[in-house]
């Protein structure tokens, strides 16, 4: 929906203007470093993971080193505390922690005297009925687009996030969906994105992997606001995503289900 407007914008510019793109140098301020926490409690063994890192300067490289030495734990509704152990720099894991649908989890991260907390409830899992590839006729060319069909559980507040891999290459695009318009229905979602790179497009014979995460409404809002305001695209007013972490860190904490489907593009 939001994307459709920007697609039209592109179409318009393509027709009216010879828009030209140039890499330029912009003087940017360097803010004080902020802590970034990306915490997940999954419903499968080995999917519960907390990543701790910091922000860095725009003109530095994209090697986002983790932060060691944090004390990370997750507490469930019964008060059972699971401690996470640092498996490599900034990556904290608890392979035994398997989240359950409908249960609420509390994240606690302590680092250098600072405390960060967040709460998340695992949604009822909507299973993928089927995935398939369909020809999509948008701009300039016909593209293969992955379609995911699933059934949304009745009741508002279910959010979905998809990650697509083509031959092991992760697509950058953020695929999110809310049940606002499809509540309780069987829906088919197009994983459509605008990327002309040849290795980003799907060709016959490509191996396609789709991960589907069922997320809370507010985690949907986190991803939505990230996509709108913090993905570097200045069509809309930039802003930091709306986090559910209390204590001043960036990022999010999500208790979410995961399901993976694999297929070969016809």
């Amino acid at each position: 929906m939001h994307k459709s407007i920007s697609y039209l914008m592109f179409l318009l510019l393509a027709v009216l203007a010879v828009s030209c793109e140039k890499v330029i140098h912009v003087d940017l301020n360097d803010a004080e470093k902020r802590l970034v926490i990306e915490g997940v409690v999954g419903n499968q063994a080995g999917t519960s993971k907390v990543l701790v890192s910091t922000t860095k300067s725009f003109y530095d490289g994209n090697d986002f080193a983790g932060i060691s030495g944090a004390i990370v734990s997750v507490t469930d509704e019964e008060g059972v505390v699971t401690s996470f152990t640092e498996t490599s720099t900034g990556i904290y894991e608890a392979p035994s922690l398997i989240g359950k649908e409908g249960k609420t989890y509390t994240l606690l991260v302590e680092l250098e005297g600072q405390t960060f907390t967040a709460v998340s409830t695992m949604q009822q899992q909507a299973m993928i009925d089927t995935i398939y590839v369909q020809d999509d006729n948008l701009f300039g060319e016909t593209r293969k687009v992955v379609q995911v069909q699933f059934t949304d559980p009745p009741g508002r507040g279910n959010g979905y996030r998809f990650v697509q891999y083509v031959n092991g290459r992760k697509e950058k695009e953020i695929f999110i969906y809310s049940d606002e318009l499809i509540d309780g229905n069987t829906a088919t979602i197009s994983l459509r994105y605008d990327d002309d790179d040849d290795d980003a497009t799907i060709h016959s014979g490509d191996t396609i992997v789709v991960d589907m995460f069922c997320i809370e409404d507010r985690i949907y809002k986190y991803w939505f606001s990230l996509q709108q305001g913090a993905s570097g695209n200045n069509w809309s007013t930039p802003a930091n995503p709306v986090t559910n972490i209390i204590g001043g860190a960036l990022g999010y904490f999500s208790a979410q289900t995961v399901e993976r489907k694999t297929m070969v593009a016809p």
């Binding site: 929906m1 459709s4 407007i5 039209l8 914008m9 179409l11 318009l12 510019l13 009216l16 828009s19 030209c20 793109e21 140039k22 890499v23 330029i24 912009v26 940017l28 301020n29 803010a31 902020r34 970034v36 922000t55 860095k56 300067s57 725009f58 490289g61 994209n62 986002f64 369909q134 006729n137 948008l138 701009f139 300039g140 016909t142 379609q147 990650v163 950058k172 953020i174 606002e180 318009l181 499809i182 229905n185 069987t186 829906a187 939505f224 606001s225 990230l226 709108q228 570097g232 695209n233 200045n234 069509w235 809309s236 007013t237 930039p238 802003a239 930091n240 709306v242 960036l250 990022g251």
Partner: protein, 765 residues
């Protein structure tokens, strides 16, 4: 009571016998009424109103009236005034090639009138200014005036004295135009062929106008030639226009029909690429007007506008949007001193998006619609007092969003609650000649805004969570806001060529436009005040100095203003414009302030005409929940803004023109760092609008070749070059992972229009 108070202050002079001379001023060839023509009788005088009517009361005697209008040959008229008289005055159009000093190319400012912050243009004087794609556009032309800023490269949106784009009241024959742009802002909805007069009020708005904070753009359509038939038209790079007008009953009634359509989509159709030629992209405008002189005291006008944009991408997305307006007006003369106008006005804006995406077929519809009744009187009480009063009642219906599934669809229908409001205003103002050098306009507008059921209204906490819901039934008054808007303007005239003016104005706005993108979008959302969203209020004081130089050939204007704005609305970070949650949960509120200095020197007559204008200004906002609740620069805060506009009549055949603009880049938010989420780079922001886009500047050149007229047939060929030195002005700057240097990030500037040549042919017969 309001009127009574004003009458009390009015000084009624009853010295010697006085008589009134009144009438309507029209153009000789077309019968079009002339707005703002000046009628001078010695030291006193008046100007014709928006229907060409004037009334002047003078002591008994013999006078030589001097009557002049923009682009018209001045005329002298001897009258022996020994009784009340009504005279029709006709002025002759000055031929384009006539090099006469008696013709003023532009209307110019009145030195004596207390009205300040006003800009007036006729289509004639803007017709030679070079524009993008050769599409004459009044909204782009007014952006060249001091204090009025462009919303972006090639954009018809504008900001006035620090106000947002939605704080401009845009009226077409009195009807509000809610979205004045085509194709996401690159063209305005006003087809200049159908337009007679453009007046912009940047400050000191007269009391008959209200409803928006920062400006009034009052556009009047042509009435249609009531003497003979005429056809005009034009063919340009992207659009074609046709204009037909003529009498229905000679000198009594006439019609006008004007249409414009773009044909950029024809180029799409020509493309051999089947995926390109299945895209749609066009807009059209239709202006129509009928008017009928019933008798010496009555005249009626019926005018309408209809415009639409249609955009479609393949079979998947489509959007269309447009305005329609209709105005029925009745002019009536109760006496030669009391002029009345009654208007019934309809205005509508809506958009419809259709999505055909596999199993998800649905439409999204949104609309804002108004019904208005306006009654206004102009009472030319005596030559010292000119009173204007009336009432304006509007019923607003807003349909914020309706999702309608079609065919086989997994989408559920969704109907965002419709909102109803009844807005009323009573207004009165008097222009009083207080002394030989002092003129004062004082007035008051009282605005009431009643929010009507049916519907649910909410209580929302600081985090945007709904804490309570109140249900109202149809006919219930949810809340009524009452606001008094005082208007005061004073002028002091030093001599015939210099004056100083001061004004204070309060404006109230009850309809607010929410825009989440940094560019104009047809889906920007109009919302009405609610129990939570309070009426926006602006107070503006301004001071100005006016000087005519070199025998009125040059005009120097300098104005300074300071404006405060209350109850400003902005989106919360991460707000979702399409959400079905109550809109109040997505909003934040705060205040704004704007101040600046505008100066312009204008050359009004001669072979070379044009102006240089410069604005120095500051615009800030302070919204609770944005930028740590600190003041920050509004996006449209541009420190310096310069325009130079020149038009030179080389000979009988050629008119050359050029304009150059320069302004400080917009205040924007750039990243202060980056981090990683979900294995992708995410940008980190600290202060709002703490950076600047690069400065914007551009030169446009134009040349018009006027062909020798053959009988009635006149025509001209216009060439223009937009952005003649190819400045790559940043339209937006985006940030992304580098494509060439993996493992780094880069800033990317997107520039749009660079050397855009165009040619258009216009004709008339």
């Amino acid at each position: 009571m309001l009127l009574g108070a004003i009458l009390l202050i009015v000084h009624i002079a009853r010295a010697q016998e006085r008589f009134t001379i009144s009438g309507t001023i029209t153009a000789q060839k077309t019968g079009e009424t002339i707005i703002g023509a000046t009628i001078k009788a010695g030291n006193t005088g008046t100007t014709s109103n928006e229907y060409g009517f004037f009334s002047l009361t003078l002591p008994k005697g013999t006078y030589e009236l001097e009557i002049s209008g923009v682009g018209m040959q001045s005329r002298k008229l001897k009258v022996v005034l020994n009784k009340d008289m009504r005279i029709p005055v006709t002025l002759q159009e000055a031929s384009a090639t006539l090099d006469s000093v008696t013709v003023s190319a532009s209307r110019g400012r009145s030195i004596s009138s207390p009205q300040m912050g006003i800009e007036r243009l006729t289509v004639r004087e803007v017709s030679n200014i070079p524009v993008l794609f050769g599409e004459r556009d009044i909204l782009k032309t007014i952006q060249l005036l001091p204090g009025i800023k462009s919303a972006g490269d090639g954009n018809s949106g504008f900001y006035v004295r620090g106000g947002a784009a939605d704080q401009n009241l845009i009226l077409l024959d009195e009807a509000t135009v809610y979205n004045a742009s085509h194709l996401l802002g690159f063209f305005s909805t006003f087809n200049s062929d159908a337009i007679k007069d453009i007046t912009v009020y940047k400050g000191g708005m007269p009391a008959q106008y209200g409803g928006r904070l920062s400006s009034v753009l009052d556009i009047k359509m042509n009435d249609g030639n009531n003497k003979e038939y005429g056809v005009g038209g034009g063919i340009g790079l992207i659009s074609a226009k046709i204009n037909v007008e003529g009498p229905i009953q000679k000198e009594k009634s006439s019609f006008l029909l004007s249409a414009r359509r773009t044909y950029a989509d024809m180029f799409l159709k020509l493309s051999s690429d089947s995926t390109i030629n299945r895209n749609t992209l066009y807009f059209y405008d239709l202006n129509a007007k009928l008017n009928y002189i019933i008798g010496p005291k009555d005249r009626i006008y019926l005018s309408g506008y209809f415009g639409k944009d249609v955009l479609g991408a393949g079979d998947i997305f489509g959007i269309d949007w447009g305005n329609s307006t209709a105005t029925l007006r009745w002019n009536h003369l109760f006496s030669n001193k009391l002029f009345s106008n009654t208007s019934l006005i309809y205005s509508n804006y809506n958009y419809n998006i259709n999505i055909r995406d596999g199993a998800n077929n649905f439409d999204i519809f949104s609309q804002i619609r108004d019904w208005n009744l306006k009654q206004e009187f102009q009472w030319y009480l005596n030559n010292r007092n000119n009173l204007r009063f009336g009432l304006h009642s509007t019923y607003h219906i807003i349909r914020p969003g309706e999702v309608r599934p079609s065919g086989q669809s997994s989408i559920n229908p969704l109907l965002l609650e419709r909102r109803y409001a009844w807005e009323n205003a009573l207004f009165a103002s008097n222009t009083w000649q207080a002394g030989d050098h002092i003129n004062v306009t004082y007035g008051l507008r009282v605005n009431t805004f009643s929010i009507l059921g049916e519907g649910d209204y909410y209580a929302v906490d600081a985090d945007g969570k709904v804490t309570d819901t109140f249900h109202y039934s149809s006919g219930d008054f949810v809340k009524t806001y009452i606001n008094a808007e005082p208007r005061l303007a004073i002028s002091y005239q030093f001599n015939a060529t210099a004056s100083v003016k001061a004004s204070y104005v309060r404006n109230v706005q009850n309809l607010h436009l929410l825009s989440s993108s940094t560019t104009t979008s047809p889906t920007d959302k109009w919302i009405a005040s609610t129990n939570i969203i309070k009426p926006e209020i602006a107070d503006q004081v301004s001071l100005g100095y006016y000087k005519n130089l070199a025998g009125n050939r040059y005009e120097l204007t300098t104005e300074a203003y300071y404006k405060t704005m209350q109850n400003q609305v902005d989106y919360r970070d991460g707000a979702d414009i399409f959400t079905s949650d109550p809109i109040e949960t997505q909003l934040l509120f705060g205040k704004g302030r704007a101040y600046g200095l505008e100066t312009q020197i204008k050359k009004k007559s001669g072979r070379l005409t044009g102006w240089i204008s410069y604005t120095l200004s500051k615009t800030e906002r302070k919204i609770d929940g944005i930028n740590n609740n600190e003041w920050y620069n509004a996006r449209q805060d541009r420190t310096h803004d310069i325009s130079i506009v020149a038009s030179f009549r080389l000979n009988k055949k050629w008119i050359l023109s050029a304009n150059w603009v320069y302004y400080t880049g917009d205040a924007v938010t750039f990243p202060a760092g980056k981090y990683q989420i979900g294995d992708e780079t995410v940008y980190y922001y600290t202060e709002r609008n703490g950076h600047r886009m690069p400065a914007y500047h551009r030169l446009d050149l134009g040349a018009t070749w006027i062909f020798k007229p053959r009988k009635k047939y006149t025509s001209e060929l216009s060439f223009s070059l937009y952005n003649a030195y190819g400045r790559e002005n940043a339209y937006t700057i985006n940030f992304r992972d580098s494509k060439d240097k993996p493992g780094t990030t880069e800033a990317v500037r997107i520039a749009l229009f660079k050397f855009v040549p165009s040619v258009s042919y216009n004709f008339k017969f």
